[in-house]
Symmetry: C2
Subunit: 283 residues, 2 copies
């Protein structure tokens, strides 16, 4: 049982953790920390949080478990202040979409104060919608959460963070931060870039066509409505891994276009059939 869980940033992910922890009775007390008290009000009123504060040091004082749920670069900045204010033995995690930056920051901070333990997490359960209003207690049920300990992580803390997400119903996958960042560049950041580029291409090239867009276009571009502030930070933080993904994507586009341009029907059928097989394996 967690004595006191402090959640820094109570939006879709932070709010869903509060609701899920409450629903599973995993913590005696849940504290929400944010920059604006009025935006923390709904979570206090509906019982997901016990206390709210705008004072980071005050909020994390006495917390044995601390979750950073602000945008990725903000988490890296907040980590330093949390590290100083947290009680000895506290286990910190986050919900950020990139993991090398915060893991490196934690390793540096641990060299100074080793009784604080950080192990990164990335719940693959985001949405193009954001804010506490769309938080759900079952958001992590059946979702994949990647936990990213480093060589210097405390093993009990790493185990505890994995068990925490498993208790909320998630499938936990352990990857080192660099492997995580490459993987999400491929299956998350690259698809976002493709979705934004599709919307931009149609809006510039054939804007009237948007009026007849059907389910195929809508599904393919749903994530183009994702939060610009959250995604600016993700793209900038993971730009090197994304560059590799984009290069592979451009090669795939070139290959497909060459088959179409040359009228290679058999080659085209073989390419599309191979993609169908790969995609259908994902269910």
């Amino acid at each position: 049982m967690i004595e006191r869980l402090a959640i820094v940033g109570v939006g879709l992910l932070g709010g869903s953790v509060a609701k899920a922890v409450r629903a599973h009775a995993l913590a005696r007390e849940i504290v929400g920390i944010g920059r604006d008290l009025t935006r923390l009000g709904p979570a206090l009123r509906d019982g997901a949080l016990d206390h709210v504060t705008t004072d980071l040091a005050d909020g994390v004082a006495g917390a044995d478990r601390i979750l950073l749920a602000a945008p990725v670069l903000a988490n890296e900045t907040l980590l330093q202040r949390v590290w100083q204010a947290a009680p000895a033995g506290a286990v910190l995690t986050d919900v950020g979409s990139t993991k090398r930056g915060i893991a490196a920051a934690a390793d540096r901070l641990a060299a100074g104060r080793s009784e604080i333990h950080f192990v990164g997490s990335h719940p693959m359960a985001g949405s193009e919608k954001s804010g506490y209003a769309v938080a759900r207690p079952d958001l992590f049920q059946g979702a994949t959460v990647v936990v990213t300990p480093t060589e210097s992580s405390d093993s009990a803390a790493a185990k505890g963070v994995g068990e925490f997400w498993a208790a909320l119903g998630a499938r936990v996958v352990v990857l080192d931060p660099a492997a995580h960042d490459r993987a999400v560049a491929a299956i998350s950041h690259l698809p976002h870039v493709a979705a934004w580029a599709l919307v931009d291409a149609v809006a510039r090239f054939e804007p009237d066509a948007l009026s007849i867009a059907a389910r195929g276009f809508k599904d393919t571009t749903r994530i183009a409505a994702s939060d610009p502030d959250v995604w600016r930070e993700i793209l900038l933080d993971n730009r090197d891994a994304l560059r590799g993904g984009l290069a592979a994507f451009r090669r795939a586009l070139d290959d497909l276009e060459a088959l179409v341009a040359s009228g290679d029907g058999a080659g085209l059928t073989a390419f599309l059939a191979r993609m169908k097989t790969v995609r259908e394996r994902l269910s």
Copy 2:
């Protein structure tokens, strides 16, 4: 009331038309025409069709309304045979995803036998699934159907084809064949190419990442599981319009990547915010 509706190709779209026409009691008799009698069996047994045949001339004899629902290039080939076998006054339409080719073929055939009328249709209600097993009587309810008369189309026939789809619950949009083909290159063919390229890029660049793929990747690539034979024909038939769409898509990718590479946070936020606005207008 249609006296005798002949449907050439009873898969997802042809089968859904049969079921919808039956449900709305729009035709006295529905004939299904296919290459394989055993595959027509289910639609005959469940009452969507009254007769089935593998003989095209026999199937369209006596039909006042004929629907071509085979893959696009097959429809163009079949059109000539249907034109010869159809009774005078018959109104022909199709459900193909490209429209210039079949419209030009129909204009040529009408020069020889002007008492047959063709007006193309494209129901924007496909799926990555195919075959009669996934046909539904409500497939066109609320869907957009683009009807594509040419300057030489019979106006009563064009009106009749539009009213037919409207009676099945569709929103009918009228475009000339060239405008249609440019529009679907943008909002349908280009997203398919992007989805296939995404799957290919991840499968080549970071195959292990597929195991943590979440809803974002799955939605963005759902259409990568579309039927290879159907899509080979669409891509080849509309290759010139697709080339324009791909060029616009590559420019959008370049612009986005340049913002990320240069670390232009403000420019990136503005780009993503603009895309969010465009995408959210589609609901």
